[in-house]
Symmetry: C3
Subunit: 244 residues, 3 copies
């Protein structure tokens, strides 16, 4: 069972953080909120999303699972105006989700959860270096890096966080000292990542006031941030091999 | 003879209400204003437009007819900034319309009115149910319906006005009780319409504070509204056969 | 040697005035500022740009020449937000230009100046008629003319400045009396120009509060204006032969 009311933009932003990587997902419904974990088709990136019950204006649920086509859901949510509320109601017997916006009411067919790719096990990683920067700053650096290359190095050296992209002709470097960062745990770190994935993620990241980056040496990158209060997003991105 | 001055946006909006359905029209000029009636090439929708003389800042005319290419006219009017005035002057001998905007002056060649499709006779229909809703609400429901289907049912049952669109997978329903409507004349009504036409019309409809819908059972739909003061628009749309 | 700091929008606007005509240019660096002269690939239009040292927040230079790919440079400058500063530093030994925006630092490879087309000699012309109009008014007239033709006549007759475009069907005329112009030196003038070029130029021209047009009889057109304080742009456009 699920009956819930939430600000349209909050839900839209939460869905977008996931739909940039996967099209169909299995939501786990609990009394504490909605959750999902998913891995992209190429197995390069994982995402986990938690919308706490407190992020909703109204939330009543019994545990369960639903399969949702995020492309359809995003399309429907795009009809809501800024400031409007979305009403969600699970029609269990019909395997449908009723989505109400103002006087409109959609009936979205759900997907059989067993037809959706299995949830990934997200590894516990203890990454040596952490930095926290404004999401908008991260997004801008990613967009800038895309202008010169397909991949980017993220690293920490002494009290400096850096991003580097080298093209055939031009190069880009972002450098931020600990005094310019929102937070930092120094540690040696340097890994290379595909800009395709970071670019897909950065649209959501750019909306977060603060994003935490955990980096290792040729190790996956963890990116975690909060969209509005009580919507938690976390990405894990596999590194690429650096060739000189 | 025609000499007139009108707010650019008023004229632009009036033209757009028609150009969504037909490219070339015959305007009837009278002392009371400009008028036209037209039917779309597929004979599915009719439009009638009346711009009262009082909608103009200045209006001086003797009765006549002119044929106008609305695509060209819209394109020229797009040059006017919001708040600017458009000056119209008929050059009868040259069969041209002079259109002045600021220091610019266009000369638009007119079309021989006899080369334009004959004006339709718009049937008098006494449709059983009437509802009035904000134009923006209508537009939003049409856009929402397009996300799930190609056609939509409009109906009235008891004191409820509804729109329904059913796709292969998903469905949409708009429901408004009489207390949520701007006005209502209850009556049994239910007809199916093509969303293509409603979508073309809804851009103009969305600009009207209030739109009146007159509906029957498998009967044409009449949509009438006022754009600004003294610009009257009315559409008549043929129903489609509902198949279950 | 070059070390300079400038408002991002000022630099962006200056570059755009040139990049509408040529892709690669040779900048001449002097103590007084940056300068360039270039001719478009078809030899129809010339542009000269001067950014005075006083247009920079900081400017320190020794004379030299650098070859720059304007397409790359514009692309990089697009990352700067409105109100941000751009830091420029010439890395002479590496033949690179370092471009800093916030925490980002690009390294742009320069082009060998000898590989760039030779600077044109811009002829001294004493054109009989001068008019000054707001840049936005010029831009609008050009956009309006494009709706009816590929070329436009600019002319002065008595105390009237006019632009005329004639299409197969429709025609456009701009007429401004000396009292509506910002400035005028009357003189007989009438020349025909390609709208392609004027359209490319007009995006920059539209940003200038005042643009000076110098016109002759079947003679080139000189268009000069100032973008912000101390950024001087001048175009010279060859006439086309008028055929009746």
């Amino acid at each position: 069972m699920l009956k819930a009311v939430i600000d349209a933009e909050t839900l839209r932003d939460a869905i977008e953080a996931v739909s940039s990587l996967v099209d169909e997902v299995k939501f786990t419904i609990t009394e504490k909120g909605l959750e999902l974990k998913a891995v992209d088709p190429a197995n390069v990136a994982m995402v986990s999303l938690k919308i706490d019950a407190s992020a909703f204006e109204f939330y009543q649920a019994t545990p369960g699972e639903i399969g949702v086509d995020l492309v359809r859901l995003s399309d429907l949510l795009s009809m809501a105006d800024r400031g409007e509320r979305v009403r969600l109601e699970l029609l269990e017997d019909e395997r449908k989700l009723r989505i109400g916006v103002g006087s409109l009411s959609y009936t979205l067919s759900l997907i059989d959860p067993s037809a959706i790719r299995k949830e990934p096990r997200i590894p516990e990683l203890d990454l040596p270096a952490h930095v926290a920067i404004p999401g908008a700053e991260f997004r801008r650096a990613i967009k800038a890096a895309e202008k010169v290359s397909d991949h980017v190095v993220l690293g920490v050296k002494d009290d400096i966080f850096y991003m580097e992209a080298k093209g055939d002709i031009d190069a880009l470097k972002l450098t931020m000292r600990s005094s310019e960062l929102l937070d930092m745990k120094p540690g040696e770190a340097r890994s290379l990542f595909s800009l395709d994935y970071l670019s897909d993620m950065s649209k959501s990241i750019g909306k977060a006031p603060e994003v935490k980056l955990e980096i290792g040496i040729d190790y996956p990158l963890r990116i975690s941030f909060m969209l509005k209060d009580n919507v938690h997003v976390s990405y894990l991105l596999a590194p690429r091999i650096e060739q000189e």
